[in-house]
Symmetry: C2
Subunit: 138 residues, 2 copies
DNA sequence: TTGCGTGCAAAGGTTTTGCATGGCA
DNA sequence: TGCCATGCAAAACCTTTGCACGCAA
């Protein structure tokens, strides 16, 4: 049995509105505090953790980042090929990547190399468009 | 200017000997302590961090694991034609991947998404053949 | 009313930092 | 002899846990 509470509702709404961004637990806490509707940090962690296990949000860690990031991925998980990340080594920006080609590669590696890729954990490192132009110094 | 110290040397030697395994800072500390040649933990962290920035070892985090893992990836720096890595999150094994499909993807991402992938730094995380069979428990 | 959810505070674990000392060049 | 590297301890962080109270059903 689970109860519907105001905190659960607010949290999910915020995460949904932030789709496409990655948030840390601290970000979430700060947001609600700034709204004058603080949610206890233990509640935030507990709720986040259960949403992860329900598959509604994803949890991941990026190198050089101390705390975990969470990201809304939807309440009805579409097909698995969700979202990969591209991380720029120069400016540190994180980009999202959805494309058929990568799903094809995922499939190829699964079949030919017998390795199941975990899209959530996999990050492509490299240099983004702006930094390739030499103009980015973040 | 940097000095060559016994700690640096021992640490690098140990990491190199552990190629293919993932080690936490705590693992490293324990190892040297068990050898009767303890290295202070702050030194371990500092040294590990600088090796990461030199590209000699790689740092990453596995889901559900509190502490970061480090892994030797070689002192051979960036040279073309090198391969991508597949890292099993369950058993920790590291696999090498050479294939046309991934080069095609690299090309695609470069052209269509304007992002230059760095093959050396990019690691695909997932589950290997053996662990997919359910027989692997680290 | 029942018992899950919440919030606070404290605990637990990992990583970083300050500072005096050690040791390489 | 300079000065970087080290080690210890403490601080800083992030996350989890214990417990009493609040609140949905």
């Amino acid at each position: 049995m689970t109860y519907q509470t105001k905190q659960k509702e607010m949290l999910l709404e915020y995460l949904k509105a932030s789709e496409g961004n990655h948030l840390t637990a601290a970000d979430v806490c700060e947001y609600f505090k700034s709204q004058g509707l603080p949610i206890g940090q233990s509640t935030v962690y507990r709720r986040l953790e259960s949403l992860v296990s329900e598959g509604i949000i994803k949890k991941y860690t990026i190198d050089n980042q101390a705390s975990a990031c969470f990201e809304y991925v939807g309440e009805h998980s579409h097909h698995e090929g969700c979202c990969y990340h591209l991380k720029c080594e120069k400016c540190g920006k994180l980009f999202h990547l959805h494309c058929e080609e990568i799903e094809a590669l995922e499939d190829h590696i699964g079949k030919e190399h017998e390795f199941s890729i975990d899209p959530v954990r996999t990050v492509f490192y490299g240099t983004c468009k702006d930094c390739n132009k030499g103009g980015c110094h973040d």
